[in-house]
């Protein structure tokens, strides 16, 4: 088991090394893209800063909370885009039958699919993420490690959610944009002050579109650690992770390897 895991890590490093090598074929292009991405993110931050400058607070959230959210969100998305973005291509692989190539290898097909695409520009998200953490005013060793941990959990949630959306392709063809849109909706949900969702909306916020595990719980935990919230966060993320794996396994049984025709 341990040896297996070590081998997988080695393979992971090998793939990342060749990703970076490919990106650095054109060094200036790569760096410009990273900087542009950072500016992109910061312009979004600016927009929210304006709102909070104007209105002071939104249901108890201030710009400081928003900054923590940006830290978690950007770091989680960077991790997703750099190391697991391939999962977004799963619908394409299913529709054109290229999933075959991943299925005939001795490695986890999910692992190979996930690492099959990486966008170098998203290193800019890490820059934004850590910058926002230091601007939030909640800086300490404890909160730093909590932020890193929460970002990772948020990444797992993002990934699981995207995987479930990608598995739609096992059912309906041409579902690439549908999945993309729902994923985008989820990210938009997660990028708002979590306090604006109350009552039934909050239930929705933690179940069907589980954005609360990216915004609400991480922010409250980093600000002021408490065990119940932490356990809810871990529980929620693990639940989604397991559900997404079950979905994938179920989908493979229904995979038809490019033999689906008749619809366009």
């Amino acid at each position: 088991m341990a040896a297996r895991f070590l081998k997988l890590c080695k393979l992971f490093l090998f793939i990342q090394k060749s990703n970076i090598k490919t990106a650095f074929l054109n060094k200036s292009d790569a760096l410009i893209n990273v900087i542009m991405m950072t500016i992109n993110n910061l312009s979004f931050v600016f927009m929210w800063w304006v709102i909070f400058e104007n209105k002071g607070s939104v249901n108890g959230w201030h710009f400081e909370e928003m900054a923590l959210l940006f830290a978690v969100m950007n770091n989680a998305f960077a991790t997703f885009a750099l190391f697991a973005r391939g999962i977004q291509l799963l619908p394409e692989y299913i529709d054109n039958g290229n999933l075959d190539n991943f299925l005939t290898t001795p490695q986890s097909s999910l692992f190979l699919i996930s690492t099959s695409e990486s966008t170098f520009a998203n290193w800019g998200d890490y820059i934004t993420g850590f910058l926002m953490y230091f601007l939030s005013g909640y800086v300490s060793w404890k909160s730093f490690w909590l932020m890193v941990l929460c970002s990772f959990l948020a990444f797992v949630l993002l990934y699981s959610f995207r995987l479930i959306m990608s598995c739609l392709a096992f059912l309906i063809s041409d579902s690439q944009r549908l999945g993309d849109n729902i994923f985008m909706a989820m990210i938009t949900f997660a990028s708002q002050p979590a306090s604006i969702f109350t009552g039934w909306y909050k239930v929705l916020f933690l179940t069907i579109i589980p954005a609360g595990f990216i915004s609400l719980y991480p922010v409250s935990i980093i600000k002021d650690f408490n065990w119940p919230n932490f356990i809810i966060l871990i529980g929620g993320v693990s639940a989604f992770w397991i559900i997404s794996l079950l979905f994938y396994r179920w989908g493979l049984k229904h995979y038809s390897s490019g033999n689906r025709f008749g619809v366009r």
Binding site: D29, N40, R177, N181
Partner: protein, 258 residues
């Protein structure tokens, strides 16, 4: 119908048949309206400005109809340039650029109309009647549709930059962000500080998005005239850029074969 009209119509029908795409788009629109309604309600409650959400959500709906209906023509053009597909069309009796533009408009129109219909119902239910008079609707709708066509044109310039750039992904994203911020496509520019509005005024985004969409809650003949004139000015400028770039591109294809 001429050939570009036919192209428009074919891609209109094709876009119409892609149900999964359309439902995904409507779902996203629904979520956006829903989220920002929550946000503006919360803000309105705290700052005692009742009805704030009604005005801003109707504004948001028209803004999203313009932004989200963009069929990513920048990616299409870029791929055509990079893969050399363009070279195969150069000897056909059709302008490659207008072909792609007509297709993109067909695509855009489907999204624009569907989002308009669906979004209006949601916005009506969530926030109440629109802030404009009924007779103003055709004018506002036409102006916004015009802006949507201009939006597609704007993205063609991004795609044509493939002539110099190895990747346009981040450039496209940057333009989108500028539209969101400088064009006030999420929050109307009026909430931004004055110095920021002064900067925005110098960009095409100001009139394409903000001034055009603002007609939704601030309609007057003077505003309409100002918007129209400014839009025309920018369209001429952008078209010049497109024509010059495209000529350069054709020349290169003629010499290097794509």
């Amino acid at each position: 119908m001429n050939k570009y009209g036919s192209l428009f119509w074919i891609s209109f029908k094709q876009a119409w048949s892609k149900k999964a795409n359309l439902s995904g788009m409507l779902f996203f629109l629904f979520i956006l309206i829903f989220i920002y309604n929550c946000l503006w309600e919360a803000i309105a409650a705290e700052s005692m400005e009742a009805g704030l959400n009604r005005v801003f959500i109707w504004y948001l709906l028209f803004a999203e109809m313009i932004i989200l209906s963009n069929p990513k023509i920048d990616r299409t053009l870029f791929d055509d340039i990079q893969s050399g597909t363009m070279a195969y069309y150069i000897n056909k009796p059709i302008s490659f650029f207008f072909m792609r533009y007509a297709e993109a408009l067909g695509n855009m129109s489907v999204s624009f109309l569907i989002m308009g219909g669906f979004g209006a119902v949601i916005t009506l239910v969530l926030t109440g009647t629109p802030p404009f008079e009924w007779w103003q609707f055709p004018i506002i709708f036409a102006m916004c549709f015009g802006s949507s066509c201009i939006n597609v044109l704007l993205y063609t310039t991004v795609g044509l930059c493939g002539l110099w750039l190895a990747s346009i992904r981040t450039l496209g994203m940057a333009v989108e962000r500028l539209a969101f911020i400088l064009g006030g496509a999420i929050f109307p520019l009026s909430i931004y500080p004055d110095w920021f509005i002064d900067i925005a005024k110098w960009t095409p985004f100001y009139s394409f998005y903000y001034l055009t969409i603002k007609l939704v809650y601030d309609f007057s003949w003077a505003n309409l005239a100002e918007t129209f004139l400014l839009n025309t000015f920018w369209v001429v400028l952008i078209s010049t850029f497109v024509v010059l770039t495209y000529k350069k591109l054709i020349k290169r294809v003629n010499i290097y074969g794509g």
